[in-house]
């Protein structure tokens, strides 16, 4: 079963390890129920990334139009169920685009060469550390250092 495609975190992104439940109607990627919301008017699932982005765009548009503040103008689409933490995803997306910031990704899917992937991580697991007392042992009788 495919895992959820949402990335957790803000500064350092990690994979969500929950199984995917449904696909987002906007980006078509699969997500778990925690990272999906159902759009009331169309009954379509939307992932929190897409939802957050839409909210950010609408908010910016409203600010440009100098209308009433966003919260007062919030329609049913953004009732508490949708608003809960979708804004974080919108903020995250806006932060990345406005600051040209590329977050560190600590997951399995390979994105680009500057980010650590699972293979990089595995080397640093505790078991890969020097936990074998004999690992560095040399023959005490051999005069290896006296060349």
């Amino acid at each position: 079963m495919e895992n959820c495609n949402m990335k957790r975190g803000f500064f350092f992104l990690r994979d969500c390890d929950h199984p995917a439940h449904q696909s987002c109607s906007v980006c078509q990627a699969s997500f778990c129920s925690e990272h999906l919301r159902i759009k009331p008017e169309t009954n379509e699932p939307v992932c929190l990334d897409c939802l957050g982005r839409t909210m950010q765009q609408q908010q910016q548009q409203q600010q440009q139009n100098q209308t009433l503040n966003t919260r007062n103008r919030r329609n049913d689409y953004y009732d508490d169920y949708y608003y809960d933490n979708a804004w974080c995803y919108g903020y995250r997306s806006n932060y990345y685009s406005s600051s040209h910031y590329s977050p560190w990704y600590l997951g399995n899917s390979s994105r680009n060469n500057s980010q650590f992937n699972d293979q990089d991580m595995r080397v640093f697991d505790n078991s890969a550390d020097i936990n074998d007392p004999d690992a560095e042992a040399f023959d005490p009788e051999a005069n290896v250092f006296d060349s």
Binding site: G9, F10, F11, F12, Y95, S99, Y101, W104, L106, N113, S114, Q115, F116, Q119, D120, M121, V123, F124, D125, N126, A128, D129, I130, N131, D132, P133, D134, A135, E136, A137, F138, P140, N143, F145, D146
Partner: protein
């Protein structure tokens, strides 16, 4: 009332800890915080250390992570640093960091008003392969990219030795914004220190961390050549990872050194000082490896021994020659040569007047060039320049 910190010092290291790095952190962080009036120290902690503490006018926040994976723990620390720096971005004047895991988040904070200082004591891309043998060049290159960003974007760079400066310059860093500030030590008169009650008549000392590049194995081998001096002991005030310490203990047994060694694990600076005060010779048998040769270092164990007027026998490497001159302020031997090390120990033990002369010369050099006050003054001048 809690004062908002005006500066931040971040180190991906446990503080306090029984090793030179912790002394360095304390001295530099205190210099920074005194200069700006207040400061926040972000470090790693453990189950025995509080996550928040005010100690001697220094506000300390510790990340106590039980994440066993080094790189994941480094990322966690990055988030920890970022969260604090983001919150304080308008209040901080200077952010000083010791590693890329702290540096990248500090450089990434948007609309920050603070200046940044990158203190390069080591490059993870060079040191980590010594600890994690399976690390690939691809992973090292990725780590190098983070380091590169730090030296490119930091407003100033400080490092403790010319070798490190040369290394950074060769890697592409701008030499005009790098200042070498050697490690310092507090001048101590050994006659004023009460020696440990159980100290042997005559002993050598090795103190500090025991990573593979420190050359403890070479020293062990040298001790096997000194078995005809049963009264001579080697005191090891050692700190390091449990597996590494366990390995060295086991190795000592296999080499038949049980009777010659006296172990003290992770003891405080005070205890180290007491043992150092009674030692005949301090040993720094650094290995000839890329960490010591290419990256460079400034061994605090050498500087502290000099400041106490103790003669040091050390490996003849460029980083050591920055501190010691053979037969003047120290005794240099070719690295990785246990027989040569044993010979040097014999010579100095047989000539106490020479030991005293070299120790006194070393103390004089330390008092003029290698004090924390001198390091602090250089650092303060950099901070003033950045804030001007």
């Amino acid at each position: 009332m809690q004062i908002l910190p005006k500066s931040l010092y971040a180190a991906f290291d446990t503080y306090p800890a029984p090793k030179g790095a912790a002394v360095h952190i304390r001295e530099f962080a205190q210099t920074l915080f005194t200069h700006t009036g207040s400061g926040l120290l972000l470090v790693l902690g453990d189950e025995n250390l509080p996550s928040w503490q005010i100690e001697g006018g220094m506000q300390i926040r510790r990340l106590a992570s039980d994440e066993p994976n080094y790189l994941k723990r480094a990322m966690q620390f990055g988030e920890f640093v970022y969260a604090h720096a983001e919150m304080l971005r308008s209040d901080l004047q200077i952010a000083h960091f010791r590693d890329p895991w702290s540096g990248i988040p500090l450089l990434d904070v948007q609309d920050r008003r603070y200046k940044t200082v990158y203190e390069v004591n080591a490059l993870p891309s060079i040191e980590l392969p010594a600890r994690y043998g399976a690390i690939s060049s691809t992973t090292c290159n990725k780590i190098r990219l983070f380091e590169k960003r730090c030296w490119e974007e930091a407003d100033w760079i400080v490092c403790p030795s010319q070798v490190i400066k040369n290394c950074l310059t060769e890697l592409g860093a701008n030499a005009s914004k790098i200042t070498v500030i050697p490690n310092g030590a507090k001048l101590i008169d050994p006659t004023q220190i009460s020696l440990p009650a159980d100290s042997p008549e005559q002993y050598l000392i090795y103190f500090g961390a025991v990573q593979s590049w420190q050359g403890v194995e070479v020293l062990f081998k040298a001790m096997t050549f000194l078995r005809d001096m049963p009264e001579l002991k080697l005191v090891l005030c050692a700190s390091g990872s449990k597996p590494r310490l366990k390995y060295l203990q086991k190795l000592a047994v296999r080499m038949g050194l049980e009777q010659q060694l006296i172990w003290h694990f992770k003891v405080s600076q005070t205890v180290v000082t007491e043992w150092l005060a009674g030692a005949a010779i301090s040993i720094a048998p650094l290995v000839e490896c890329s960490r010591n040769l290419i990256q460079g270092c400034c061994p605090i164990k050498i500087v502290e021994s000099m400041a106490m007027g103790k003669p040091v026998i050390a490996s003849d490497l460029p980083v050591v020659r920055e501190l010691l001159e053979h037969n003047q302020t120290g005794w240099l031997i070719r690295p990785d040569r246990p027989a040569e090390l044993a010979r040097a120990i014999r010579i100095l033990l047989a000539h106490p007047q020479e030991r005293d002369r070299i120790g006194e010369n070393a103390r004089r050099k330390a008092s003029t060039d290698l004090t924390w006050e001198a390091s602090a003054n250089t650092l303060k001048a950099i901070y003033s320049q950045l804030l001007a």
